[in-house]
């Protein structure tokens, strides 16, 4: 008898890797939200602490999208809120679309 690796692994794959993962939209939303919110918070604070004659000219352009956002201490808090909301929306959307497709495919 030849102990066949692929045969053994096929047996293994009858137990594992059989199901498609379903993503939790809320969890994805929160994770993406936290990552994006924290990222914007840290990026803003970094520029504020570094200081200089003009503080964060490029990052401040985000204010064009996120009304009220500025590169200041208070702006970093607002930025966190915007980042969280945007990230949440992105994460939630990705998970929802993924789940919808997987369900449509009818896979286990």
């Amino acid at each position: 008898m030849t102990k066949d690796l692929s045969e053994q692994e096929k047996n293994l794959e009858k137990i594992v890797m059989t199901r498609l993962v379903r993503l939790s939209a809320i969890v994805y939303g929160v994770v993406f939200g936290l990552v994006l919110g924290s990222g914007l918070l840290i990026a803003t604070l970094w520029l504020v602490i570094r200081g200089g004659p003009v503080v964060g000219p490029n990052l401040s352009l985000l204010g064009q999208f996120f009304l009220g956002y500025t590169v200041t201490y208070w702006g970093s808090v607002i930025g966190f809120a915007y980042g969280f909301v945007t990230g949440f929306a992105i994460g939630y959307s990705i998970a929802s679309i993924y789940n919808w497709i997987v369900n449509r495919l009818g896979k286990e």
Partner: protein, 599 residues
């Protein structure tokens, strides 16, 4: 010789006085039958016999007594009583004058081999985990997939080739698989995460042993059989087995120059299945004889040396992986039982050389073999040749049935033919051509008797004593196992669908870039537009406009989202598959036992 008439006129003839044959005879004697046993050697025990020389006892092969079979254990206790010792087990690999734990432990191996060799082994291991042989056609590939090529060369190749006398690339992968035969997928998966119970550990770290070796047990069993009316004839060879109308009718035995015909109603044989088939009269069909010719065995000889040193090393036995010597395994009998040695200031060693009956090593003169043993002991640094004060050689035929790539099909031919005999059963390691331990051999003897007397239908070909304690693990953990296997595993080890994940990311990315582009255009955000336009350095055709900018943003956004997400999901699945396969191989490797081990 007088043949006893026995209970109900049943006359049991047992060929072979090894563990299987004697156990069958003992079972019969306990049930008031009077079996007759024929053993071709001058002592009982078969390949588990104990030789004696100048007061030193030498166990041929080293036989640990451990079992989870209650009936085998009961028989041992019943026969041996207080002569059964509980002994600690230590058996290590000896390589380059250093001892290595078996199973291999990373830090122990690293300490012995050095950091550089350790690094090379580590890289080799990683390589073979990532790129394993997809088909495990032979032993070499089986081991390489689990330990890496470099470790295989150091710790497996040399010893295995000494044992089997053929290249590891010619040895069936089944040999390795057989060593973990009771580790089914379920048990393997569980053992990835669940540590073995203490009881199992105890079985592995300790064993029982008769004070003067297994021969002591088998002599006592012989005495008990004879006390109850059974007969055990030594130096008696069965030369012919006559049969008629699907029944064995009589055997012709040879003792010295005398031949005698012995009739019986039931026949049980533990002689090598090949010898049995060749002794049949009339001869079996040619196809059966051809199949018999294809089965082979490995033999070994033990160079027993008495060394004038009270202590040599702590192990019961060691596996010698040194490629520059022929010795494969060394038994230190004093560590099996202090009573194996009559003088406590000396030690006795059994240097085991694996060979084939009739080859150069087998035919070498005993004095030359003793010299070879002394020399090799000196070369590998375990003892000085000048300390060896005495030596003797013992040869053991047909010690191990060989598992080559075709043995199963040939065995099946013989098995089918033997099944046509109503009053015959074949038992024991060589009777079944199956590499199994002493307790397993004994069970086949017990069950053969129950089949004959009680109408039981035990399949002797599939009895496996080791199964018992693995079964115990399974029973103990069954509830957890079912839950883990059927419910938890499929949920933990899931797949991330790459196309679905890619599409989801693509859609979100696409919509985001579209909204940003439109927002900038509609609100006439010049500064942002300039920055955003830089994207066309990477995305040809993109611009901040309704058309074609918005159109391109949909297209590029999707590609930018889909590509990385699809790759991420595929990579995640591949890594998880690799991880799970690797866990399985690790579990198998951890349950592999060097062979032949001592059982």
């Amino acid at each position: 010789m007088a043949v006893s008439k026995t209970k109900n006129d049943s006359r049991f003839v047992i060929v072979g006085g090894g563990p299987a044959g004697l156990t069958a005879a003992y079972e019969l004697a306990c049930r008031h039958y009077q079996p007759i046993v024929f053993e071709k050697y001058d002592k009982v025990g078969g390949i588990a016999r104990t030789e004696m020389y100048n007061g030193y006892y030498f166990d041929m092969g080293g036989h640990r007594f451990f079992t989870k079979s209650a009936e085998v254990n009961q028989m041992w206790q019943e026969v041996m009583g207080t002569d059964f010792l509980r002994r600690p087990r230590l058996s290590r690999i000896y390589y380059k004058r250093r001892f290595f734990n078996y199973p291999l432990k990373p830090f122990n191996a690293l300490r012995g081999l050095g950091i550089w060799e350790g690094l090379l082994i580590g890289f080799s291991y990683l390589y073979w985990q990532i790129f394993p042989h997809r088909q495990e056609n032979n032993f070499e590939e089986w081991v390489t997939n689990r330990f890496g090529k470099r470790l295989f060369r150091i710790f497996f190749k040399s010893y295995t080739e000494k044992v089997w006398g053929i290249s590891t690339s010619e040895l069936s992968a089944e040999w390795a698989a057989q060593r973990i035969k009771d580790l089914d997928l379920k048990a393997a998966i569980l053992s990835m995460f669940v540590k073995p119970k203490q009881t199992i550990k105890t079985l592995i770290e300790e064993f029982d042993y008769p004070r003067r070796g297994p021969g002591m047990l088998w002599n006592m069993v012989k005495d008990k059989i004879e006390e109850r009316g059974g007969q055990v004839y030594l130096n008696t060879t069965v030369v012919k087995i006559r049969h008629r109308e699907n029944r064995i009718t009589e055997v012709v035995v040879k003792r010295g120059d005398q031949f005698e015909v012995v009739t019986g109603s039931h026949f049980i044989s533990s002689m090598a299945i090949t010898d049995f088939v060749r002794a049949l009269d009339p001869s079996p069909p040619q196809a059966v004889l051809n199949a018999t010719d294809k089965l082979s065995y490995r033999d070994f000889l033990t160079v027993c040396l008495v060394v004038n040193q009270p202590k040599l090393f702590d192990d019961n036995w060691i596996y010698v992986h040194e490629p520059n010597v022929k010795v494969g395994r060394i038994q230190n009998f004093k560590n099996w039982s202090p009573d194996m040695v009559p003088d406590e200031n000396t030690s006795s060693l059994g240097l085991e050389y694996f060979c084939n009956e009739g080859d150069d090593l087998w035919r070498m003169a005993d004095e030359d073999l003793v010299d070879l043993g002394k020399r090799e002991l000196d070369v590998i640094g375990l003892a000085r040749a000048s300390d060896v004060i005495d030596g003797r050689v013992f040869r053991v035929e047909k010690a191990y049935p060989i598992y080559d790539s075709t043995y199963q099909q040939h065995l099946q031919v013989i098995r089918s033919y033997l099944a046509t005999f109503d009053n015959f059963q074949t038992i024991g390691r060589n009777g079944l051509h199956r590499y199994n331990n002493q307790d397993h051999a004994m069970l086949t003897g017990m069950y053969a008797v129950r089949n004959a007397l009680d109408g039981e239908t035990y399949d002797l070909w599939s009895i496996n004593a080791e199964q018992d304690y693995h079964e115990e693990i399974r029973r103990e953990q069954d509830a957890v196992a079912e839950k883990v296997i059927n419910r938890v595993f499929p949920r933990v080890f899931t797949r991330l669908e790459p196309v679905a994940f890619g599409t989801a990311m693509g859609v979100v990315s696409s919509v985001s870039l579209l909204l940003i582009t439109l927002w900038v255009v509609l609100n006439d955000l010049g500064a942002v537009a300039r920055l955003l336009t830089l994207l066309n350095q990477y995305l040809p055709g993109y611009e901040v406009s309704i058309f074609p900018g918005a159109l391109f943003s949909v297209f590029y956004g999707f590609i930018l989202g889909f590509g990385p997400a699809w790759s991420l999901a595929s990579l995640r699945n591949a890594v998880m598959r690799l991880y799970v396969s690797n866990l399985l191989r690790q579990a198998e490797a951890a349950n592999y036992e060097e062979s032949p081990s001592s059982n």
